[in-house]
Symmetry: D2
Subunit: 100 residues, 4 copies
């Protein structure tokens, strides 16, 4: 994934729409939470077997893909503002998890 | 970001610990939610000015980085199981957002 | 609040629509999360001053009231199934908090 | 449930600890979300059968009861500040749900 490129697109998008005033770390952490809930909502009342079938349905797959993207886009925007290199963070967290 | 490499590490980690039985899409969507809340908790009672100072503190920065990683790692694991290419999902979602 | 009466209404509602099969503690905890996010969404990009004005707007007040109710209704249903007396739980938790 | 009494205790508790400055609707909606995630975390990797056994365990039951209380207490505090009568909200929402 080319994060820098995606972050640049998101930054320009926010700038053009005058959204920079709203994009602080607290608000973006809220947005990540809201989008995560929207992903979870797809599975709210489902059992494992149904979900395995659902994922083969093109429309449901697209809905899931859109919600994954929404979380990812806010996570990229958050990381850009917090000056966090997500890949580096992941590798360091994996190291910590392995020690546990 | 080399997602495939991270996803391979996560997959082997789950396999070794016999966690594959727990890693279904519903449970992983729950995990993304829980980790998102842990990121938000850092900012729960804070005002913008404080957060701008906090982010310069090495310990708080590391805590934020760890929570971002936790969300990202579960999102990568979820996408691996759902056979979703996150970067492609992001680019398609950006296209949809631009049309709005 | 007459919780028992509300819980009885909810239980009959679930029974009539054949929803009892979906109402287990895990699914209801998911529902509480989703409804909490919908409440938070109302304030996602807002500043304190705006929210103080918003709350005086009848339509926004009704939207907030509906989301509060959605959380409460799932919390009542959850407590019914878990055999938890919410008021007693609250009083015990307040005692613990005072000791901190 | 005597909400007014609980709300009075919470209001005095916040006043004594000088927490009123932090208790605005946005922050309290965040808190409801965080506590809801802590409830969900108890069930994160569990299957229905295990949860049915867990709930009979005194320690787990107390943990669940504490998390239910944490959500309820923030919901009561939120409703107090938003001047929302929770029981009335619930009855109105049930009416709307019945029409669906």
């Amino acid at each position: 994934m080319n994060e820098k490129r995606l972050q640049k697109i998101l930054s320009e998008f926010a700038c053009k729409r005058n959204w920079e005033q709203f994009h602080n770390l607290k608000n973006l952490a809220i947005s990540i939470n809201i989008e995560s809930s929207e992903l979870l909502e797809i599975f709210q009342w489902k059992k494992d077997d149904e979900i395995k079938l659902d994922i083969k349905n093109k429309q449901i797959k697209e809905k899931i893909s859109d919600e994954v993207a929404d979380i990812m886009l806010y996570l990229l925007r958050f990381s850009d503002l917090a000056k966090i290199d997500i890949e580096k963070s992941c590798l360091e967290k994996i190291k910590k998890n392995k020690k546990k």
